[in-house]
Symmetry: C2
Subunit: 489 residues, 2 copies
């Protein structure tokens, strides 16, 4: 059925048309299917799910190492719970899917929300679970999906009406302890996103006009893409006592007095991080994945000719047997495809190493190893194959990080004037500039940026608290802050 085959490769360059490149990648690498018959809902396919499960595993392990225990909460929340915290209900109500009836028409007395996030489910329980200072810090997480009714176009993994995340909700005796948790959350984010997933990020304290509904402050990681647009990734929120008061999350302190707990919550959206990772690491041939996360780490492709098939396949099986104890290995012996077609398919899917073995290689006792990321092609003595792969595997993700984390710095441009900034944004840069304020009084200047540039004030960089500019790039008043401005996906 070769004549029916569609164009297998991605037909646009990532740098020319990122959106189209991503759509084709998702389809051609078989990551998600958008044909499910409900708007905003997509099917995640095995090649994506295998990596996503590994990402969950790594994240959960780190959360547990840092003292979080796992919970499983109901996914339905009575509407009245939402009404306890005023800005939360206002922020989330437009995004909620409501269950109103069951069976053959039994109506519920109040509407039930499909959780858009779990504060209002959890904190009711926290008020019963937390009694004394001895229960603190109280650190819990759950891995689950959330639903948000949003109108923007669906982009699989990035934006859909159901997505998969982890949410950690913690209670502390003091604001100081809560702020330490925010720092721990940031460290976890760097460790996971940069060290494990090779995604370059900056952590921002978001301006007050862009915080989570009900939070004191919101801190969020922005990932950078080559197009200069950022992708909002995990955010962590200092909720202070904004929720503990209405939800009655109190504890008896050492001095026997009753106090409200200080709450933080952290929400890494694993499905979105996966989308960001695939976007940032991929190239014109398809996916590139960190070695640990690849569903298949090594593919062995026999180069088959009449008369030498048997000896070539035998050598391939030998290589497979050698490597499969340590790695996820696939011997691709399909007989209805050419070797070239197989190369393209596995490059599309981001398999880190391809081993080619042909009849000549059998005679000379070598195998050709091709690195998906560096493109390096190397003839390796079969006797050395195990050791070569061990070394190359160890270095694969390191090389990926070195390259990707470096790309990053060149994207940022310091600007003194609006014209400079506008130019920079048009040239796909991220602007670093002075700003009057990230409190509500700066909202007007931010609006100007949004209207004129189609870009957003991402906030103040958390790791750099000094201010480097004298005046606000918009209104010219004294700059209280150094902020970053970028377009976003």
């Amino acid at each position: 059925m070769a004549e029916e085959k569609e164009q297998k490769g991605i037909t646009v360059k990532k740098a020319d048309d990122f959106s189209e490149w991503y759509s084709q990648l998702v389809q051609k690498a078989e990551l998600a299917d958008l044909r499910y018959n409900l708007k905003g809902f997509v099917c995640y396919m095995p090649w994506a799910v295998i990596s996503i499960k590994k990402m969950y595993e790594k994240y959960e392990k780190l959360l547990e190492k840092n003292g979080h225990l796992p919970l499983i909460m109901p996914s339905l929340i009575p509407e009245s719970n939402f009404h306890l915290e005023a800005s939360h209900v206002e922020g989330f109500t437009p995004e909620v899917f409501w269950v109103t009836e069951a069976g053959n028409g039994d109506k519920f007395e109040e509407r039930l929300a499909l959780r858009p996030t779990s504060e209002t489910a959890l904190y009711k329980m926290y008020s019963m679970w937390i009694r004394s200072y001895k229960d603190l810090p109280f650190k819990r997480y759950q891995s689950c999906q959330v639903w948000r009714y949003e109108g923007k176009a669906t982009r699989p993994f990035f934006r859909a009406r159901e997505f998969h995340w982890i949410e950690a909700h913690n209670v502390f005796a003091t604001e100081e302890d809560a702020r330490k948790q925010i720092l721990e959350d940031m460290e976890m984010t760097y460790q996971m996103l940069e060290q494990e997933f090779s995604i370059p990020i900056i952590f921002f304290e978001r301006p007050q006009w862009d915080k989570f509904a009900g939070a004191v402050s919101t801190y969020a990681a922005d990932a950078l893409t080559e197009s200069g647009k950022v992708i909002q990734l995990p955010s962590t929120h200092l909720l202070g006592t904004n929720f503990s008061k209405p939800f009655n999350v109190k504890f008896v302190d050492k001095d026997a007095s009753e106090k409200y707990g200080f709450i933080t919550c952290y929400g890494p959206a694993i499905s979105r991080i996966y989308g960001a990772m695939v976007s940032i690491l991929g190239d014109d041939k398809g996916m590139i994945l960190p070695f640990d996360l690849a569903p298949v780490q090594i593919v062995i492709v026999p180069i088959l000719f009449k008369g030498s098939k048997e000896k070539v396949l035998e050598k391939c099986e030998e290589a497979e047997a050698l490597l499969k104890g340590m790695y996820s290995v696939r011997l691709d012996a399909r007989d209805d495809m050419s070797a070239g077609e197989k190369f393209s398919e596995w490059e599309m899917k981001g398999v880190p190493f391809r081993i080619e073995i042909g009849p000549k290689d059998v005679d000379t006792g070598v195998a050709v190893v091709v690195n998906r990321f560096t493109k390096e092609k190397k003839a390796v003595d079969m006797k050395q194959l195990g050791r070569y792969i061990d070394d190359a595997a160890r270095n694969y993700t390191r090389h990926l990080k070195e390259k990707k984390l470096l790309d990053f710095s060149s994207l940022i441009q310091k600007c003194e004037t609006l014209d400079e900034a506008k130019n920079a944004i048009e040239n796909k840069k991220i602007v670093c500039c002075g700003f009057c304020s990230v409190d509500m009084e700066g909202a007007n200047c931010a609006e100007t940026i949004e209207k004129d540039f189609g870009a957003f004030v991402r906030g103040r960089k958390v790791t750099d608290e000094k201010n480097h500019f004298s005046s606000c790039i918009v209104c010219g008043k004294k700059a209280k802050e150094t902020v970053y401005i970028a377009k976003s996906y």
Copy 2:
């Protein structure tokens, strides 16, 4: 606050009042909280979730080893999908939670079901994903939660309106291949439930009047409790072409003709299996868990007296350091509880081994190791502690299985008459007897059993196809089948 402490142990015997025993166990071992403010929905607490996650991991690994790939499907299903298969919609509609609106009152054109099971979501996609015989067998699974609006009283893990399961959905070219999958599903069930979770089961082919809505045949594992009541555990269904026809799941066969696929689906409900495991293994002191699944495998309790605290704690830390590389170890050095209170708490939670170290033990160089299941108490030379625990850990689950899988056979009683059977059921036995038919013509006799005994015909034992009886225990007609009758939870 010692005066506020409630009675810590379970106040009834498991054999006397299983229901009350289970309720207290769930509360006192902190497995679930039923105080969530929505009927039928419960919070799973960390001690349960840690084990449940391990159970998922084991099950998923086995499914993948057997060729199933993971998917993630949307949890909402348009109502029209349900209407494609008539008996399915009839069976499930009374149990569905319906999303009818979103945000501030946007109504959906059709109701959206919170999935009660995913056939009607998946098979629409399967009709697009499966093209040729080369795509078969097509084996996929997802780990997810499902919702069912049911009226019976909530019993955490066993019965609630939201539960957590795995569902595997497979398509084959022939009915023969589909039936082989049913056998593989049964083998997986035995391997997981009996070998990993120590739950004794029998696999039944369910009578036709008790099959899954839309299935050709349903095969289900029943677990046995000491009370003689059974608990329905994983079931696997031969759907044949009942769904592939309305959902158009077709493939082009080798002879170029188009054929409908034969479908099977398998649904191990992990949360329910957890409930069954905890019920079946526990004793009057609380939980007993297979070694691998225990959140804490070894607890070290120092016996503290004034003047020797330091040296005792030092020895405990030594033991902790020795064991924590291999096992999940907790050193319980809390200073506001007696050693006895700690013993009770960890016994309640089913920690397999307790190590006690007191001042005398430090002097004599021993530690006392107590086995939660066998109750064996042994003074072990500190120098031999590592090796002793390694051995004991290896044997812990084996002993548990030997004991629990044995309990099982004594529960079954062969009966020739209704009086005998009634007696046996009253004596907490499972009845094995002749039955006219497990096709629809046997439904009347089954109804008699249900009315007279409050018990159910569980079906024909799958591994034993011979018939051992001459006449039906109810109507006296020729017995076509040997069936099992039991009460159920």
